[in-house]
Structure formats: structure tokens, C-alpha cells
């Protein structure tokens, strides 16, 4: 090579002055989105409160004290007490731990299962595709909520211990969540695999595993992050619904859903709003915050959804 061409190349390379990755740019834009950042801050506060807050409380979740039943919020019990004299605040926070954990875990599971199966179906096509997608279709034809109700009822009928129920609820939620995700991932993959850079990977003699996980899935990362975020909100809601009907995580383990359920009578509803407003507000705030953040993420990461 002549030195002339070397100089030319050097001149051209000036255009990217600082190494700016795609992610950094996206986060810069995300920080400008006020709604999304508000959502993000609320989620962070909720997490800190639920996971660190209880450490500072003098009470425990199942500390029964019959002398202070159904007390309205006061200085000792900031959110009052319930019919067994338990502190509502600590129960709301610990319920948050469960609800958030279930939401995140169910999301993680359905994203992992959904993207993996969707990617395999889209990449290999043929019979594998048929088996995976028909299974997904089958699951999609059964309405999710009734399916969850039935399996929740089965759990109750089989008297599954409360400790395990939380994990089984996660599994149930991801079972309902993955088919839609797998479809979306498969669709994206079908168009990605025909792109020219995939021909380059064939020419380079790369292994299928590497093509799939190193070349194709990273291209789906923005889509997956957005879906995953919005999925958390949905999972938390579904878990609350299940628990409200006594089919998810059941008392004495508190979740936001079953706390509202335990205030499910006229006297509690009318006279003791401190029993159901705090968990209700937590569900509302968390889900809205997560959705706002998810929408913000989509605006930033998904170029097809430019407003």
C-alpha cells in the first residue's frame, strides 16, 4: 500500500472521534425522556423500599398482636394494622418483594424460553419450526386467564405448600407468556437470517450455535429488552389477579393481590381503607412506572417505532 492511501484512510477515520457505542447513545437519549425516567425512578424506589425497607422495621410480617387490631394509621404503625394486629406497612413491603420477584422471574423465564424457541424455530425452519410454533399456537388458543385459574385451582386442590406456590406461579405465568414472544422473535429472525451479513457467516464457516447466539440474537436485543420490560408489568398484574382470587400465592405469605383480597368485605372496604389502598396503590404505581419506562425504552431502542 502506498502512503497516500494510508493517509486517506486516516482522514476518513476521523469521523468517529470518541468510541461511542450504540448503547451509550441510546441511554443518552433515554435520559432526556422525562416520563421514562420518572417511571425508572419509581421502579427503583419501589425496589429499594421493598428489599431494604423491611430491615429498618421493628415488626415482622406475621407478628400477631390482638390488642391493636384494625388500628388506623398512627405514628407507631404508619399504615395501620389489620384484623390480626399485624403492621400493614411491613406486609406491603414484603408483599412487594414477592410480587416484584414473581414479576421479574416470570418475565425472565418467558423471555428465555420464548426467545430461545422462537430463534430455533426461525433459524432451522422445517419440522422444528412446525413443532415449536404449533405448540405455541395451541397455547395461544387457550385464553390465558382461565388457564391460570384452572391451574391455580389445581394447586389448591393438591394442597401445594405455600412456599412452593410462589415458584409454581412463576412457571405458570411464563408458560402463558412465552408463545407470543416466540412468535415475535421468530418473525424477526426470519427476516434477519436472509440479510447479507448472514451469508458472510456461512462463507466464514461459522457454527450454527455461533451464528444464532452471536450474530442473530444480539440483533434482537433492543426488541427483547422492550418486550421484557413491558412483560414485567403484565406479570405483576397477572400475579395480583391470581392472588386476589386466592389462586396464586396464598396467605400467610403476603402479596399485593392477596392483601387486597383479605380486605374483600364491606366493612373493611368502607371503614378501613388503609388495608386495601396501600397494596392497590403499589400495584398501580409499579405497573404504570414499568410501562412508562418500557415505552421510553421502545422509543429509544426500536427504530421502527419512531414517533
Amino acid at each position: 500500500m502506498s502512503s497516500v492511501s494510508g493517509n486517506l484512510a486516516a482522514g476518513k477515520a476521523q469521523s468517529p472521534p470518541v468510541k461511542s457505542s450504540l448503547w451509550k447513545q441510546s441511554f443518552k437519549r433515554l435520559r432526556k425522556n422525562k416520563l421514562a425516567m420518572t417511571g425508572f425512578i419509581i421502579v427503583v424506589i419501589m425496589f429499594l423500599a421493598c428489599f431494604i425497607g423491611p430491615l429498618f422495621s421493628p415488626y415482622t410480617e406475621n407478628q400477631i398482636n390482638m390488642r391493636i387490631m384494625n388500628k388506623a394509621p398512627n405514628l407507631k404503625h404508619w399504615l395501620g394494622t389489620d384484623k390480626l394486629g399485624r403492621d400493614v406497612l411491613i406486609r406491603v413491603l414484603l408483599a412487594g418483594r414477592i410480587s416484584l420477584t414473581v414479576g421479574f422471574a416470570a418475565m425472565a423465564l418467558s423471555v428465555i424460553i420464548g426467545s430461545l424457541l422462537g430463534a430455533i424455530a426461525g433459524y432451522y425452519r422445517g419440522i422444528v419450526d412446525q413443532i415449536i410454533m404449533r405448540t405455541a399456537d395451541l397455547l395461544l388458543t387457550i385464553p390465558g386467564l382461565p388457564l391460570l385459574f384452572i391451574s391455580g385451582a389445581l394447586l389448591s386442590a393438591w394442597k401445594v405448600p405455600t412456599d412452593y406456590r410462589m415458584y409454581i406461579v412463576m412457571l405458570m405465568l411464563s408458560l402463558v407468556g412465552w408463545p407470543g414472544l416466540a412468535r415475535m422473535v421468530r418473525g424477526e429472525l426470519l427476516s434477519l437470517r436472509e440479510r447479507e451479513f448472514m451469508q458472510s457467516t456461512i462463507v466464514l464457516g461459522l457454527r450454527d450455535r455461533r451464528k444464532l447466539f452471536h450474530h442473530l440474537l444480539p440483533n434482537l436485543a433492543p426488541l427483547l429488552i422492550v418486550i421484557a420490560t413491558l412483560n414485567i408489568g403484565g406479570s405483576i398484574l397477572l400475579e395480583s389477579v391470581l392472588s386476589f382470587f386466592g389462586l396464586g400465592v396464598i396467605p400467610p405469605t403476603p402479596t399485593w393481590g392477596n392483601m387486597i383480597d383479605s380486605a374483600n368485605n364491606l366493612i373493611d372496604f368502607q371503614e378501613r381503607p388503609w388495608l386495601w389502598i396501600p397494596p392497590g396503590f403499589c400495584i398501580f404505581a409499579t405497573v404504570i412506572a414499568i410501562n412508562l419506562f418500557g415505552d421510553g425504552l421502545r422509543d429509544v431502542l426500536d427504530p421502527k417505532h419512531k414517533r
Partner: protein, 328 residues
Amino acid sequence: MTDHLLDIEHLSTYFYTEEGTVKAVDDVTLHVRPGETVCIVGESGCGKSITAMSIMGLQEPAGRVVNGRISLEGTDMLTLSKNAKRAIRGKEIAMIFQEPMSSLNPVLTIGQQIMEPLMEHLKLGKKEAKRRAIKLIEQVGISRAEQIAGSYPHELSGGMLQRIMIAIAISCKPKLLIADEPTTALDVTIQAQILDMLRQFKAESDMSILLITHDLGVVAEMADYVVVMYCGKVVEQGEVCELFEHPKHPYTQGLLKSKPILNQRQEELYSIPGQVPNPLELTESCYFHERCQHCMDICRVREPKLKNVGEDQQAACWLYEEEVLTHG
């Protein structure tokens, strides 16, 4: 035959469409010797890219190799298992494409993409691969290699990306480099640099190049041996000087005539009349007869075979067949 690196014999690649069978490559035979540059020239749609893709197996699943043999140093590429094929691709045969912009994965850094074949074929560790990648970037004439290795394809220009593609292609020191119109998408000044670079690497490592192009200027600059294709068939082939000085087939003559010449004012640039016939409607004939000014009766009904017309030159045309007849 043993002195050939790549032997393509009677290769036919067909595409089965709803309207009928398209014979994209029809009975093509060509050879590449070690250290030689062979150019395949022809108009768009004449099957030159499909020939190259058939070597790599990229014509699948739409196209099928229905006949012929492709062998690299004696190993038959068409009957190899999937894994054996994979081991050859990227290691023994590398390929660069026309569009450098879309041939690199947009979400991976340049460095990562150069490291991949090194780790796959040479079984290098991450650190060693990274070191080699940076060295390769320097080799293709890009300064500040370390920084470039960490940047993404969209941050570089087309010319730089094509250099990166070359760096990836030569990373495992392949014996054969297939370049499918490597300079078509680039502007003319960069074209010359890229061609220079290919020539330099060829000289350094004794690699053979199969260059596919429609640009006769590129052919003149690069080729040792030229294969002219028309409608999926080889119509003329020969050593480059001989072929440029004495083109025998009317199609080659037309191609050479339609090339602008510097410092010569022409009233109008020559172009071959007519168009490439529809590949679905081909019947036994010389496929060029509709556009040929020397067209004879026999051209319309029978297909000419490749015949020796010079010391190292063959053409498929009835004009020379008759010569052979009258002289003999």
C-alpha cells in the same frame, strides 16, 4: 489435473421456479491454478455470481447443483458433509461480496467480526485473536487499528469496510479468494486501492483469486486468465493478453468495443444491440444469435461447443467451427 487448485467441471446450477427451470449456470468448466487470478466477466444475469456461489454452496436452497463437480485440491466440495464444508469455508476458500456495508453485522464491533474466523478455524484464544485482528487491520492499510477494532460498521466508510472484509477474508490465509464484484459499490479512487491490495496479498501469500466482475478495466488490471460467460455458459476463455488482443467470440468483441477508451473521442459509445434473452425461453441454439452480426443458419438451431482458437484460448462459436472444417 493435479496442478489445479480449483476444478469446476460441467457445473450446472438450476433454479426451479413456477414458470419453469432457469439454467443459471449451464455446463461450465473452469480451472484455477495456484497463485493465478481468474476473472469471470459478463453482463448482469449471465450466471457469474451463481457460479461463485455454487462453489461456496450459497445458491441453496433456491438453486440446485444438478450436475458437475467442484473440487478443491482433489476434494469434491459437493459431496462433503456439512461440517467438512464448514471447515473449508473461511479457511481454504474465502469470499468477499459486492456490498461491504451490508456484509458486516451491524451490532458487532469490527474487531469481534475479524476475530471470529481466527477463533473458529485457527482455534486461537480470545487475546491472541484480538492481537491478530488488530494486526490484520493494520495490514489492510487502516491506521489507528485499535480504535477501529472497537467501532461498529456504521461508523466506517464503504472503502474502509471493504478493507475490513478483505482483512476478514485473508485472516486464515486461504488458498482461494472469491471476490464477487468487490469494487462495484465503491468509488473509482477506492477501487484502485482495493485492487492494489488484493494484488499485494496475492503476491505475498501465493493465494489464487477468482474475481467476478463486469468491469473490463478491472479484468485488464488483475487477470491472468479470463472466462467470458453469457447466459450461464462459457462462450470464450483464454489468457488475458491473447483474449484482449484477439477476441474471437462476437460477444467478447462487443464487450471490448463497448469499453470507453481514454483520450479518444467517440461519437457514441458502442453497445451490443438487443438484450439478454429470457432464460426461461432458451432453446437449443447459440444463445447469442439474436444479437450477433455474424449470425448464420446453424446458430439458430445448434449450440456451438468450446473449441481451441488460439494457443491458450477457446471460444464457442460456429464461425471458428467452420474454419476448422474448411481447413481440415
